[in-house]
Every structure is written in C-alpha cells, then in structure tokens.
C-alpha cells in the first residue's frame, strides 16, 4: 500500500517538472545557454564531474584539451539522447545512455591517442573516465531526455563551456604558481612551444601536483561563491545560497539539540 501511495504522490511531480522546464526555457533560450556558465556552473556551483578537474588543470593546454573532449562528448550525447528520447523504454534508459556515452568517449580517446599523443599521455586514464563523468549522464538524464534537440544542444554547449572556463581559471593559477609562468605547446606537434617564465626561480612545484590542485580548487570554489553572491543579486546565486542556508539551519538545529541533551 505504502509503495502505491508514494507512486501516486510521485507522478504529478514527475509530470510537472518537464512542463516547468519547457515554460522556463521556452521564453528564453539565452537563459538555457547561460545557466551552465554561471548560475549552475557544473564544477564550481554544482560540484559535478570533478574527477578530471584536478589532473587536467596542471597546465592550460591540458585544460583546453579536456574541455574539447568534454565538449565533444556532451554535445554529441545530448544530441543523440534528445533524438532518441521517445524510443528508449524508461526502465533501461540509464544503460542505453551509458553505452552511447562510452562509445563517444572511445571515439575521442582514440582520436587523441592518434593525433595528440602527448596530451593523451598526460591525461592518461582520465579521458576514458569521461564516461562516468556526472555532468554528462546528469545532463542526459535531467535535460536531454525531456527537452527538444535545440534546447539540449544549447544546454550542452553552456554546460561544457562552464566546465571549460572553470578548468581554465584553475589551470591558469596552478600553472603560473607551479612553473613561474606559462608554457603553450602545440598539442598536435610537441616541437612547437612558446614559453614565458618570468618567475621561474620562485616556482612552487607543489602547485602542479595534487596537493596544489585541491588547494587551488577549494579556494576558487569559495571565491566564486563570494563573487556570484555580491555581484549578481537575486536569482543567480540561488543554488549556493540555498545550500549554505540549509547547512546553517542544520547547524542551528544541531546546536539546539545539543543544548537540550545537555
């Protein structure tokens, strides 16, 4: 009985959600595109798809190549999934999506191995791991399976640009602090490279390693929440504010409980 009641309660919500999306997205396509960049930035606000962020931000070139790989996979998967959304039975949709994503990832993995072997070496296992990147499956499940092809494409572009920008910002800080400057190498031909290293003697190699990655990433997440809160009033910082308010409320509740037990 309980299960049935839950099901009945769930269905109106499930039906209502896509309608809401259509309403929101219908009157402003620009919003769909921009949502992924600032308001719902996948890395800095939603904290999704973090596996490639730390290893891909050791240098600007790595961040750019990871951005291209994610862009390709996300755009293609959103396109395909929004095209086949009517055909796939609901029960097996997740395995179907995962197989589509895995095939796309294999394509980009083999392309990078063939044409940019250096980048493929330095990113290593994190290119095939795009398969399980939460951003891609998340967008397939939450957006592409409910919206039109054009909207899904815009959403994929916005989300991947948001991911790429976040990676690029972290990479700029890490590369500058870690090597004392910037080195740009042509990913398709490693002989061509331009480097500008004004602070080479003051470089902190630890910033290029994982420790520096976690540290820079944490600080940038905090700073981003601060900037979006102060510069963009109202709706744009809803997600972060809500989560912060909820944690604050939880803390207050915890303290009250503690006082009562004492």
């Amino acid at each position: 009985m309980k299960n049935q009641v839950e099901k009945v309660q769930n269905t109106p919500e499930n039906v209502a959600q896509p309608e809401k999306n259509v309403e929101k997205k219908g009157h402003d396509r620009k919003k769909v595109f921009l949502a992924g960049i600032i308001k719902d930035n996948p890395v800095l606000v939603m904290l999704l798809g973090l596996c490639p962020v730390i290893p891909a931000t050791t240098s600007i070139i790595n961040a750019l190549m990871m951005f291209i790989a994610v862009l390709f996979v996300l755009v293609c998967s959103n396109l395909i999934i929004s095209l086949i959304k009517g055909i796939v039975p609901k029960e097996i949709r997740i395995p179907v999506y995962i197989v589509i994503i895995a095939s796309l990832v294999t394509v980009i993995d083999l392309l990078l191995q063939a044409y940019a072997p250096d980048v493929s070496n330095s990113l290593g296992v994190f290119i095939p791991l795009i398969t399980v990147n939460c951003i891609i499956l998340g967008r397939a499940e939450a957006f592409a399976s409910k919206n039109s092809v054009l909207d899904s494409l815009l959403d994929a572009l916005g989300m991947s640009i948001g991911f790429g920008l976040a990676c690029l910002v972290i990479a700029i800080f890490r590369e500058f602090l870690g090597t004392g400057g910037f080195t740009l190498t042509n990913p398709f031909n490693s002989d061509q490279s331009v480097s500008w290293l004004p602070l080479k003697d003051l470089a902190l190699p630890v910033m290029v390693q994982g420790i520096g990655g976690f540290l820079t990433f944490g600080i940038i997440v905090g700073l981003f929440a601060w900037i979006t809160k102060s510069k963009v009033p109202g709706k744009n910082s809803d997600t972060t504010l809500k989560s912060q308010y909820s944690t604050l409320k939880e803390i207050e509740a915890c303290r009250k409980e503690g006082k009562e037990t004492k």
């Binding site: 973090l50 997740i94 294999t106 083999l110 399980v132 420790i211």
Partner: protein, 193 residues
C-alpha cells in the same frame, strides 16, 4: 606473498584513489556529510569494486583474444559495472532487506563513480595471467583506500560543519582545502613503497 602485501599497501595508501589518484571526488564531497552514510558508501563500493575488478580482469584477456580490446574495453567494462550494480541491488533487496535500507541509496551512485571504472581500466591493462596476486591486491586495496579516506574525511566534515568558517567557504570549499592537507600526508609516504 610479498608482492601481494606491497601491492595492497601501495594501492590502499601510497597511490590512494582519492588523494593521489583524484578519482571519485563527486561522491567523496557529496556523501561525506555524515560518517554513517560514508560507511554505507564505502561498504557498497568495496563490494562492487571487488567483483567488477575481477570480472573486467578476465574480460580483458577475452577481448584481447578477439582483438577488439582497444576500442571495446571501456564500453564492456562500464556495462559490466552497471549490470553488476543492478544485480547487487536486486539481490540485496530480495534477500537482505535490512541491508538494503542502509546501502540501497548508494548503489545507483556507484555506477557513475570514477573509482570503479578507473580500477576496471587499470586491472584490464594486465596482460599476464601470473599477475593474479597483484590484481587481487589492487581490487581489494583501491576500494579500501577510498573507504579509509572517506571515513576520515566525513569525521573532518562533521567538525567543519560546526566550526566558524568564513561564510562562502562553508561546505565544499573548505572541504577541498582540508583534502589538500590530507593529500600532503599521503604524498609524504610516496617514497616508502
């Protein structure tokens, strides 16, 4: 036997999947608000990792025999993982309903956990059948390493929740800074094994 223990310790601590391998960060930050949920995630992940790792190791040989390893292995291993997760969910739901209540919600999350696929890809690269002890140590060590780190981090998170952090750094941001400090400890063990 020495090789087994060396591989176990190295995959568990020195090349820890979170702090040195940067895998599974989404669930690491998302699940670790409470130590009880971190424990549930750790147990479920250890179980899935162990079996999917062994299956993918075997499938690696089969795919190499058929000469389709290069372009099929990622697809095959993610299918193995997602079907194993589904299967585990069904079995636990049917035979251990009380366990399902605690672990059930973490199982679907494991499909998209980088640790599991990363382990499958790592194990599938072994081309030698005599590497079995090493593979066994890896499939045990990687999830146990994740388990240890997520348990430690959940304890830190519980303290951070009540501590007086700067407003915008509350939650994930200060958690990542704390992770950086934990990573220093693992980095210091780098030369030991």
């Amino acid at each position: 036997m020495v090789a087994f223990y060396t591989a176990l310790l190295s995959s568990m601590i020195v090349s820890n999947s979170v702090l040195a391998g940067y895998k599974g960060l989404c669930s690491y930050l998302g699940i670790s608000k409470k130590s009880s949920s971190a424990f549930g995630m750790g147990v479920a992940l250890t179980f899935v990792c162990f079996f999917s790792g062994l299956i993918c190791w075997g499938l690696g040989f089969l795919l190499r025999e058929l000469e389709i390893y290069d372009f099929m292995f990622t697809i095959v291993s993610i299918l193995v993982i997602s079907s194993l997760v589904q299967f585990t969910e069904l079995v636990i739901k049917k035979f251990f309903p009380s366990l399902y209540k605690t672990l059930g919600i973490y199982l679907p999350l494991i499909t998209t956990n980088c640790v599991v696929l990363g382990l499958a890809l790592q194990v599938g690269a072994y081309t030698d059948a005599s590497s079995f002890p090493e593979v066994l140590a890896t499939v045990l060590g990687v999830p146990l390493g994740y388990f240890i780190v997520i348990m430690l981090f959940s304890c830190i998170q519980e303290r951070l929740e009540t501590s007086n952090t700067k407003y915008n750094f509350k939650g994930a941001a200060i958690g990542l800074v704390a992770t950086a400090i934990m990573a220093i400890a693992v980095y210091g063990l780098g030369g030991v094994i």
